[in-house]
């Protein structure tokens, strides 16, 4: 049937390949393990790879400064490949097999939701550095990114106050973060007296790349006699073709300004920002923030990556804050045991990169300044407005009737992530 030599050739290749695969990684003996759970391939790799590098940089810096509790830190990196079930599996691997003491990870809400049951079951510790929609407060997760009241509400305030906007387009990608944010904003705007007909809400699927129709709709909506602004919760790099189309159809930032919540320095770095000058973003950190500590951070980042052109962005700052806080709490508690570190985290204060201080509150959220920035020609942001002080993150927004009556407080007597003030009961996630 087959010639012997052909079979032999094939088999030898197969066995050769199999034998090459018997490599194993060696792990250091006595070290504190730090888990890194960010997608390094797939659709989210664009955003998450940078955060993996940030954690690695922080680990290096800490080790150079003498490690933690006398031991060296070791980063354990896994790739959940933008695949949500894989996030859960990798979390389990990190906690049960690798026995990491803390995990820095996740970006999309779905990934966090998949990780949540695992991390609560195995009593792990996750620092989540991305802005999100709120409506959650888990015992095992610390949210160092912005809650809606630290981003969306002040952004709309700026649009109304500074730019005089009277009509609003809420454009988002069809998933939970834009939906929640838009819901909150719709209620907020209506409370302020904006009419229903002056609010247009629009959702697009992930990866939508053909914006011609939507942009011409925005143009039509915006020429009704009142100043119109767009609040964009469009996801990540889908904003790029959206902005391109805005420029193509002749809509400048002075006509219809667009403020985005998912566009940062990183998303703009692959893009010619000439036509975008004047459009806005709302974050708690911009690379152009003027503070010595920020300059040091950027310097260290350029050295670590070996690339002077790399940018820094808000999730990186959130990762930085989370890491510093964790280190401080571990030093305070004297151990990496999660049940001791957790209470040590409450009240921990760490300088943020814009010259202020970040403090961890008992609802597992930070206080952060809210900055509004305008896009410049070089892809950086010009900070045009900043809150006077820092805003404390509110996990349960006051602008949705169902959430307004819920608070999160993990210290006694409440000790619960979703405590209903009316019924005086704790419900929902494990507690």
């Amino acid at each position: 049937m087959f010639s012997n030599s052909r079979i032999k050739k094939r088999l030898s290749v197969v066995w050769l390949v199999i034998s090459l695969l018997t490599l194993n990684s060696v792990s250091a003996a006595d070290s504190i393990k730090v888990g890194v759970l960010h997608s390094l391939s797939g659709t989210m790799a664009i955003s998450e790879t940078t955060l993996k590098d940030t954690v690695l940089m922080m680990v290096d810096r800490q080790n150079e400064a003498g490690g933690l509790l006398g031991k060296q830190l070791e980063a354990v990196v896994v790739d959940p490949a933008s695949n949500w079930p894989l996030f859960a599996e990798k979390t389990r691997e990190l906690l049960e097999k690798e026995r990491v003491d803390v995990i820095f990870g996740c970006w999309t809400s779905v990934s966090r939701k998949s990780v949540l049951p695992v991390i609560e079951e195995l009593n792990g510790l996750l620092f989540y550095p991305v802005q999100y929609e709120g409506e959650e407060s888990s015992k095992n997760v610390f949210y160092t990114g912005a809650a809606p009241n630290q981003q969306a509400i002040p952004a709309v305030d700026y649009l109304i106050g500074e730019l005089g906007a009277e009509r609003f387009v809420l454009a988002g990608t069809d998933y939970v973060y834009p939906r929640t944010t838009n819901k909150i904003l719709e209620n907020y705007l209506k409370d302020l007296g904006v009419a229903d007909s002056d609010i247009m809400i629009n959702y697009t699927p992930f990866g939508h790349s053909d914006w011609q129709t939507i942009v011409s709709d925005i143009k039509a909506f915006g020429s009704a006699g009142k100043k119109t602004a767009v609040v964009s919760t469009i996801n990540g790099d889908a904003n790029v073709p959206f902005y391109k189309e805005l420029g193509n159809q002749g809509i400048s930032a002075e006509d219809i300004p667009v403020i985005a919540f998912s566009v940062g320095e990183e998303e703009l770095s692959g893009f010619d920002t000439g036509p975008l000058v004047g459009h806005l973003a709302a974050w708690n950190y911009f690379m152009s923030a003027e503070a010595d500590i920020n300059d040091d951070f950027i310097e260290a980042w350029h050295q670590f990556t070996g690339d002077d052109g790399r940018v820094t962005n808000d999730p990186m700052e959130a990762t930085y804050i989370g890491f510093e806080m964790w280190v401080k709490a571990v030093e305070k508690a004297g151990t990496t045991d999660v049940d001791s570190v957790r209470p040590a985290l409450y009240g921990t204060a760490v300088p943020n990169l814009t010259g202020g201080t970040a403090v961890m509150h008992t609802n597992h959220h930070l206080q952060k300044p809210v900055l509004i920035g305008e896009i410049l020609e070089d892809g950086q942001f010009e900070i045009v407005s900043a809150t006077a002080g820092e805003v404390i993150g509110d996990a349960w927004t006051n602008f949705l009737p169902d959430s307004a009556k819920i608070i999160a407080d993990w210290t006694s007597p409440v000790s619960c992530g979703n405590y209903n003030l009316e019924t005086q009961q704790c419900s929902g996630q494990n507690f």
């Binding site: 390094l40 391939s41 797939g42 659709t43 790799a45 664009i46 790879t49 940078t50 500074e162 730019l163 005089g164 069809d174 959702y203 697009t204 699927p205 990866g207 939508h208 790349s209 053909d210 011609q212 129709t213 939507i214 011409s216 709709d217 143009k219 039509a220 915006g222 020429s223 009704a224 006699g225 009142k226 790099d237 790029v240 073709p241 391109k244 193509n248 159809q249 002749g250 930032a253 002075e254 006509d255 300004p257 990183e266 998303e267 770095s269 692959g270 893009f271 010619d272 000058v277 004047g278 806005l280 305008e374 410049l376 020609e377 070089d378 010009e382 045009v384």
Partner: protein
Amino acid sequence: MVIQPCKFLFRALLALFSSATFAFEDGLTLSQSSWADKAEWIEILSRDTTDEAEQILKHWVSGHLFYWPAENRLVAGFKQGRKYELRELISGVAINVVKRKAVNKIKVNNKLRSKIKQALAYRSLSSSDASKRLTAIAELKRKPDYSLLHTLLRLEEANRDLKTSRDLQTLVGLVYLESSKSTEQIEGIKRLTDNLSSEAKEGLSRLLLREDISSDVRALGLRTIRDIEKQLSYWGHAQDIVFGISLGSILLLAAVGLAITFGVMGVINMAHGEFIMLGAYTTFVVQQIIPGGSATALFVSIPAAFIVAGVAGILLEKSVIRHLYGRPLETLLATVGVSLLLQQMVRSIFGPLNQAVTSPEILSGSLVVNAAFAITYNRVFVIIFAALVMVGLWLLMYRTPFGVRLRAVTMNRGMAASMGIRSQRMDALAFGLGSGVAGMAGVAISQLTNVGPNLGQAYIVDSFMVVVFGGVGNLFGTAIAAIGLGVATKIVEPIIGPVLAKIVILIFIILFIQRRPRGLFALRGRSVEE
């Protein structure tokens, strides 16, 4: 707190010395003032007719105005790496290069930018340069200011240029709408009849929102705006069709390479999307080599992308596909592996972030038929490019010896080989051709969307749909299918939204294939069904 009395004082001084020039000492105050105060400064500067004031405003709006504490004056600053090169405001002579911390930027935001642009536009109104006048009028249309009425009327009288007169007429009409006199409002509405620009609609809507207009004016205004809206909707449909053709041309470019490899050769190439991506990255690399964002770079990238993707295709054919001929499903699996490899390779070389591909100058801007119907030049380019590619392929397949040989090998491999055609070589070349066309598609796509390692994934499923719908083995069918699907999507989208539109199109294809299992134009391809 301290600013208020200072401001008052300055104003008082200004009132005394009405033609006072802007003193450099105020640079410090300017750099420290709030947005509201900065707005006041702009007012002052716009009334100042000197060159100095104009330069300050110009540099300010472009973000190049800085206050230099060391010499206590305002300068123009241009970024050079991590430092700033300072130049004189008016003459532009270079002064010094300093660190970023040595200067304070005079910030600008949207509102201020708008104000400054208005002020500068007003100055350019009477410029001798026609294009400057047009830009000025376009800018002033954004915020019609009633106080400019007399200036504008005078200008209109004196004007002899045709292009300018049309724009001026609109501008004066818009300004009339801001008036409080009914006669002038009616005059304004009359001037804006049948004007399809968004400024006209905006202006009329604003007028109708006012409560102090007479019923005559309101009736006329309503009629005019209804008329405009009807015309806009008619043009809107036309524009949808053109959007559809644009989308279709992108689909066509992406799918035609697949039509060749899949239809004509019977090879299912799941790495096809990655060849498109290779073409897009080639464009990026060529732009790095030929900087300046010029059209030359773009035109060089077209053959470059063809060669890169074509060579990659030939390599793939010789190493992998060759062993798998006659087994279309195995080629599918192997090429899935190749697609993963290519993605990871690109990710390793260029990093996972998106890369910046700029559009050349000549492709920016739009082809404007009227104010409601415009198509951007880069989309026009893609449509023309797609048409040229199709014509080129047709000529290649039906008018050259190569094409004859390829079709022969397709129809009957054994016979063709007996006639002396080296069929193995034809396979490699045909695969290279299909991949090369995919590379060229990547060049076009790089002008319209993000260039990242996942670029290919967005186009592979759509490409397959187009090829199957059009009829496997038929380039003409692919073209019709691509344009048809593009137009259908764009017509349906405004009605039910993008997601439902896509779903409806997919269901349509599924049902269509079940009625006509061979697609729109079924031709005998090589052993696809066997």
